[in-house]
Amino acid sequence: MTSVPLARRGLFSGLLLALAVVLILSLGLGAVAIPPGRVIAALLARVQGIPTVAATEITIVWDLRLARALLALVVGGGLAAAGAAYQALFRNPLADPFVIGASGGAALGATLAIALGGILVMPAAFLGALGATALVYTLAQAGGRPSAVNLLLAGAALSTLISALVSLLMVLNDRSLHEVFAWLMGSFSGRSWPHLAAAAPAVVVGVAMLWAMARPLDALALGEESASSLGLNLTWARTAIVAAATLATAAAVASGGIIGFIGLLAPHMARRLDGGLHWRLIPLSALLGAFLLLLADDLARTIVAPVELPVGVLTALLGAPFFLWLLKRG
């Protein structure tokens, strides 16, 4: 296979190690601070069934913090992998997981569910994201020759329409305004094992499908016509990629709300570190996205404790300047 320069060989193992370290530290952060050693002991305690640390610490680590941290990793990874795929599919560095309407659809679904009494918000957001993307995809195909540009345009148009609908719903239901607003800004507050159990399988399947599409993504990133002249069935490939990215995005948005910039930033960093080969780029983006979102959530829940910031606000606040700095460095 392709030779990998020495400097890049340790990239994956180094990143995995950093991820493990940050995860352990994250589990110790909060109103009750727990040192890393006791975090590891608490983690092992429930696995082995031997209580070596205080029961309260085991409960805090396992029941309050671990699921939330893992959910941040899953959501960050899903958004970043979807972003990497869309940037290749559209050959557009500005494409993100929400580019063809997933965020708008999820927002509409969640807003409806909240307005109707606040039950089933997560399934509603998931279905909204899937529905909006499917609609955009169908509309783009209907306008003559289906192309990546048509997809982008249809996505932009429908997103605008949907955000108007969301605003309308919010105005009509001012009692639930605050709740919708909090959801739109993205947060892992109060998320636990059921949320993780609901989101993780869809994200893992979506990212795995994108990883399997690595070589078609390489070809598409160079141009649709040349991909076709290399024997790629464009309709099939595009459908598979959009379906996989949408699955991951919808699950991520349903459990975390709309969290911007991770899906844009992580793939850019990954390409700078390692180049554009998707066999490496998809997993590397996912790892970076997971890493970044876990860090962002740690900050969000500790920086002005006991108040929690919406993590989406933080990713944008930190992500945008970092992105601009990356651009300036050229």
């Binding site: 030779s3 390489d218 024997g231 080969l277």
Partner: protein, 312 residues
């Protein structure tokens, strides 16, 4: 020995025809050059040959089989395309781009086999890219990128190789290098090569057969000497030309008798160079900045008068 038959083909885009009643054959072991003025349909024809554009009528046959009866993948196993102006703006290395040429054989999911690796090595060696294999294509010059695209098509191991303006934007050295390689692939590897070329002199030097496209049809087909005559070229381009014999290779050497624009000499008589095909017939342009060879002017009435706007 793959033969490419273009059988009574009609080509066009939505509601706009580009070429029709096209009858043309490309033989194995030969370079067929597609020439003709801008918009004559060279690229359209190549896209149709590459199975990227479905003909509105007629059929394109590869070894007797309609390309549209083949799957995208089957077609890609037989036909390699070097597209014009593919930007190569994704940070893949040279080797990674060339490896994509194996997709029609290997599929999109299996890892590369040693046979695939051999084909990649061959393609890199043929195009002189082995030293650049680990370089990102985004860091390459125009000539190097063109060679990467050719290498990718070679890794495809096609029996038909299509190249769209492979010498556009290339300097003198790379023009010769690229077309020399293309010629060797046809003559030594028995490939069927179809290449579109703007530069008639390059076509005359490197092509075995030439097709001249103009006015939505095939104007002429034959050896360069048969096709590149002053009459046919003037009919195709609306420009008078002088055709001499190349002093070294004996191929046609085409020199357009072009408009010469003198540096800001207002309102003077046009003094054209002597035309070997027509008597000089000087005429004055309305404002002058431009002068046109009278033969060219008369051959294309639309261009005869230049009306310049006077600055206020």
């Amino acid at each position: 020995m793959t033969i490419l038959h273009i059988n009574d083909v009609k080509l066009g885009y939505e509601g706009q025809k580009v070429l029709e009643r096209l009858q043309l054959t490309a033989q194995a072991g030969r370079v067929l050059a597609l020439t003709g003025p801008n918009g004559a349909g060279k690229t359209t024809l190549l896209r149709a040959l590459a199975r990227l554009l479905r003909p509105q009528g007629g059929a394109i046959l590869v070894d007797g089989r309609d390309v549209w009866s083949l799957s995208t993948r089957e077609a890609a196993q037989r036909i390699g395309l070097v597209p014009q102006g593919e930007a190569l703006e994704w940070p893949l290395t040279v080797e990674q781009v060339v490896a994509l040429g194996r997709a029609p054989h290997r599929g999109w999911f299996l890892p590369l086999s040693s046979k695939d690796q051999q084909a990649i090595e061959y393609a890199l060696a043929e195009t002189g890219l082995r030293a650049l294999r680990a370089r990102p294509v985004t860091a390459l010059s125009g000539g190097e990128r063109q060679r990467v695209l050719i290498a990718r098509a070679l890794a495809q191991e096609p029996s038909v190789l299509l190249l769209d303006e492979p010498t556009a934007h290339l300097d003198l050295h790379y023009q010769g290098a690229v077309l020399g390689l293309v010629q060797r692939l046809a003559h030594e590897c028995d490939m069927t090569v179809v290449v579109s070329l703007h530069d008639l002199n390059l076509a005359a030097l490197y092509a075995d057969r030439v097709a001249l496209l103009a006015d939505e049809r095939l104007l002429a087909e034959g050896t360069p000497a048969e096709v590149f005559t002053p009459e046919l070229l003037e009919a195709a381009y609306g420009v008078a030309v002088s055709v001499e014999q190349h002093p070294i290779y004996g191929t046609p050497l085409i020199m357009p008798l072009l408009t010469r624009v003198p540096a800001s000499t207002p309102a003077e008589e046009v003094v054209p160079p002597a035309s070997p095909t027509r008597a000089a017939n000087p005429q004055r342009s309305t404002h002058t900045a431009r002068q046109r060879h009278p033969a060219a002017a008369s051959a294309s009435p639309a261009l005869a008068e230049v009306v310049c706007h006077e600055p206020n």
